[in-house]
């Protein structure tokens, strides 16, 4: 059990350095064991240094920076120990345009080996979807699925209005 965790941590930590530097070009991040002597009980700390800045406590990072660091950690775990599918509900909320683009690039990489189910309000995220579902609640409190579009297949119903640009 200890070795399973030790190996998983090593792989995740290695992925984290790579993923972090792609979300924060010019920055650096790493995962650190709080107690390397105690592989049974140690916790994990996250160190993040955005480009041009000094390492600080995570609480001082901006909203968008925190989102990105959290994404880096999760995606590192996903890459080190893949699962067949992932579900993400509006994770882009705090991101500006440039960072949204970097997130979408990560989604496209994960897609090669896993299924992604992504809830979003962002047009740019919708644009990389292989399948697109619109849900609606026409004033009566009951959800209906209003349309679906599969990439390269003509939809027989009109495409859903993106909920927000």
């Amino acid at each position: 059990v200890q070795r399973v965790f030790a190996e998983a941590f090593e792989d995740t930590a290695r992925e984290f350095e790579g993923v972090f530097s792609r979300l924060f070009p010019g920055g650096e991040g790493r995962l650190v064991l709080t107690d390397p002597e105690d592989m049974l009980g140690t916790g994990i700390e996250v160190e993040a240094r955005p480009p041009g800045k000094k390492i600080k406590r995570l609480s001082l990072l901006s909203g968008g920076e925190r989102s990105l660091v959290a994404v880096a950690l999760l995606v590192s775990i996903f890459k080190a120990r893949p699962s067949p599918f992932y579900i993400m509900d509006e994770v882009e909320a705090a991101l500006d345009d440039a960072n949204l683009g970097r997130l979408i690039t990560l989604f496209e990489e994960l897609r090669d080996s896993s299924q992604l189910i992504v809830i979003t309000h962002q047009k740019r995220t919708m644009e990389v979807a292989d399948a697109l579902y619109g849900v609606s609640m026409r004033g009566d409190g009951v959800t209906t699925v209003v349309s679906q579009r599969i990439r390269d297949v003509q939809p027989d119903e009109p495409q859903p209005e993106p909920a927000s640009a």
């Binding site: 120990r81 699962s83 992932y86």
Partner: protein, 165 residues
């Protein structure tokens, strides 16, 4: 392995039986505020065995049953069926297509079935955990849950990695 389809019946705002066909790759779900997108995420967590009412945003587990609207009476049960394409054998079960179904009745507990055969929650959890989906469901990033990854204690973060490993 990927989720091929998801059918919701009486689950939260999905009063009538609603099926969604999902693709490998990226499936995006879009729609206005309050239309039911996160309810789809809850349905996925629930059919995979989620036991915490709070993780499903309710006060008690029965809160997932369609509670009615001014124009439509409440229902007596909620049912979600998830169909998984298992051609790659990621699920340790001898079928190329695997359905997992969970049903909950008002006042009663939950019933589970794999490929139409009644089973226990534990059977569903064991089937999924062998393919990389653990009980903590680190594969689901709920709305507003990204920051929690950073606010977690070092020990909790260790837990994410152990679950994925």
């Amino acid at each position: 392995m990927y989720v091929k389809s998801l059918t919701l019946k009486g689950f939260k705002s999905f009063a009538s039986a609603t099926s969604m066909r999902l693709e490998p790759g990226i499936t995006c779900i879009v729609g206005p505020n309050g239309s039911g997108k996160s309810n789809v995420v809850d349905a996925l967590a629930w059919v995979m065995g989620e036991q915490g009412a709070k993780s499903l945003r309710g006060g008690k587990m029965e809160d997932v049953i369609f509670a009615g609207t001014p124009g439509r009476p409440a229902l007596g049960r909620a049912e979600v069926t998830m169909t998984i394409d298992n051609t790659d054998g990621a699920l340790p079960i001898d079928y190329t297509e695997v359905t997992i179904r969970r049903t909950m009745f008002k006042g009663g507990g939950s019933e589970y079935a794999i490929n139409g055969t009644s089973c226990r929650l534990l059977d569903v959890q064991e089937l999924l955990s062998d393919s990389g989906i653990g009980r903590e469901m680190h594969v689901i990033v709920g709305q507003g849950q990204l920051d929690a990854v950073l606010r977690a204690t070092p020990e909790e973060r260790r837990g994410f990695i152990e679950e994925a490993a």
